[in-house]
């Protein structure tokens, strides 16, 4: 339903399809709340000649339900813009429906890349914006022998494949690649193997409870053996976020490195305003995360594009969104007209026991999204290794 903006503040329905129950509910809740916060802010601003009406549905992590609720929104309710999906499998499930009804999916999550769909605006990090920077940070500083542990599905498989390429290009190798079924907390054997193999660092792509159990078990190991202290052999990831640090709890949550385009600790006034508004809306105990920020970004971009286009029609909104320049909590954000992914600012942070991240590094400018990793030069990794070589020898044992 294309809404013309001649009348006073017409209401434009926007679907929010994320799983706020089920196995990855905490992430879904963050994305939902980030989007809802943006919508409330848009509606509170009389400068917007329209209101967004959030229509939320919770597929509970069930693939089939993603498709049916989206179909119902697009076909029966005339909704054209849907903010939603966390897992790639759910996104792949609804893209055909979005395309069939000429809708537009605003996807608020980082993912493994290798997709560029005309009917999707990708608001989260592509692997060149978090995984490649993580490898670029870790390999020269800690070493090139990497231990990979992940949940058994496509996001970890693909991340580990890329990490292997980068480590091998740097002259190193993946010591072991281990997978646990989603939801499993049987991490004991893996931690024993890490203790025996002594990798330079661990790359963790476990999700949810599996990941929390692993961080706790790894903490027990480093308490026992200073060889595994967080400044010697840290655990790294591209997904560990502030709410998860609280879920892991206490000292076990501290000392891990994460590559992300957003941390709650970013010192921008836009971020301070975001954190304050988020807590005012959802509770003083809440923390913000990359998922919440991505939800906020896609909803805000959607509203900006509708305002610029003077219409909610998909084709016009898409044309307009490429022109939008958003000062997001993380920094300037825009959508690349070539591949529909966002330009985002890579960062590396170290977790602390208070549930936050200390910033170790951030890119000077937003990184161009490269979902097919077509512009990643493995030679660059080698050059960085050489550049870091002298320094490493100086501080080495």
């Amino acid at each position: 339903m294309a809404v013309s903006l001649i009348h006073a503040r017409p209401s434009i329905p926007v679907g929010i399809v994320v799983s706020t129950t089920g196995s990855y509910a905490p992430v879904g809740r963050d994305m939902h709340d980030g989007a809802l916060l943006a919508i409330r802010q848009i509606n509170a601003d009389d400068a917007n000649p329209f209101r967004l009406e959030p229509v939320a549905a919770d597929p509970g992590g069930q693939l089939e339900t993603y498709r049916t609720v989206c179909e119902e929104m697009l076909r029966d309710r005339g909704i054209r813009h849907i903010i939603g999906c966390y897992t790639s499998s759910s996104r792949k499930e609804i893209i055909p429906v979005i395309e069939k009804y000429d809708g537009l999916l605003w996807y608020p999550s980082h993912y493994e890349g290798f997709e560029s769909c005309d009917s999707v605006i990708y608001g989260g990090a592509a692997p060149n914006q978090h995984l490649v920077p993580l490898a670029g940070w870790m390999l020269p500083r800690y070493g090139t022998n990497v231990y990979c542990i992940g949940s058994n599905y496509i996001w970890p498989w693909e991340n580990n494949r890329i990490m292997r390429q980068l480590a091998e290009a740097a002259g190193g190798r993946i010591l072991r690649e281990r997978y646990l079924p989603v939801g499993s907390t049987e991490v004991g054997e893996i931690v024993r193997e890490i203790a025996a193999m002594r990798p330079d660092f661990v790359f963790n792509t476990l999700i949810g409870e599996s990941s929390y159990a692993f961080y706790r078990a790894y903490h027990a190991l480093r308490e026992q053996d200073p060889e595994f202290a967080s400044d010697r052999r840290p655990v790294t990831s591209c997904s560990l976020s502030e709410p998860e640090l609280l879920a892991i709890g206490g000292e076990a949550a501290a000392g891990h490195l994460t590559s992300s385009v957003y941390f709650q600790s970013i010192g921008r006034s836009e971020n301070a305003a975001f954190v304050t508004a988020f807590r005012a809306a959802f509770g003083a105990e809440r923390v913000t995360s990359a998922d919440a920020e991505a939800g906020w970004i896609v909803a805000t971009l959607l509203a900006r594009a509708i305002r610029e286009a003077g219409s909610s029609a998909v084709a016009e909104v898409k044309r307009a969104v490429y022109e939008c320049r958003l000062e997001a909590p993380q920094g300037p954000v825009r959508v690349d007209a070539e591949n529909n992914h966002a330009w985002l600012t890579p960062r590396i942070g170290r977790s602390d026991a208070a549930g936050g991240f200390a910033l170790l590094w951030e890119a000077e400018t937003p990184a161009r999204p490269d979902p097919y990793l077509a512009r990643v030069e493995l030679a660059t990794v080698r050059t960085r290794m050489r550049a870091a070589g002298a320094r490493l020898r100086v501080i080495g044992p």
Binding site: L63, S88, K92, E93, P96, F114, I154, R161
Partner: protein, 218 residues
Amino acid sequence: MNADIASLHGRRALILHRKDRNRDALESQLHRIGLDVACLAPLSEVALPDADVIFFDADLGYQGLFPWNPSEAPVPLIAILASEAPGRIEWALDQGATAWLHKPIGSTGVFSALAVALRLFEERRQMRASIADLSERVRARPIVVRATLAVMSGLGVDENRALGLLRQAAMRERVTVELLSVRIAAGGALAGLLPQEAVATVAGRTQPGRAQLRRKQT
């Protein structure tokens, strides 16, 4: 499986994929084309039923899904993919997939995927056989050289003639040149190499080794 795409009727297709719209679309399209279809999901430890062609979910496939070694698939394999992540594509290729179907599966694409898979599977099978044969010959090359030298000196002929005699004899005895060479290199008689007409031809010419050749024939 017969690579002829005109004779698909009654061929057995196996689909390894969870039940959803994609599988339903594929199943009904295969029925329309004329195949018998069996579906299996979730992919589990159960033995795979016999099939002439297998469609499999490459998004969820795992090491050990198929009971054969990677690249030794006994039937054409067609990968069903939603993800284009290189790791998944690589895995599907490692299994020996020769064609692809992208989700969402509709009424077009299934038949051409079948045609491509059958054709490439057959070409690959023939290529493998021919490579195996050539490898065998390359391995036997030193033996053939030794046998040729034995014929040259034993019968007093030049290299081309010696090779020609070996080939003709191999053809007469319905063995490979390599096998015959093994026999000769192991001390087998050279006499049987020469057919009667060859003896006449060789004997009628004046060329080096003629006397020796005649002497050997008598």
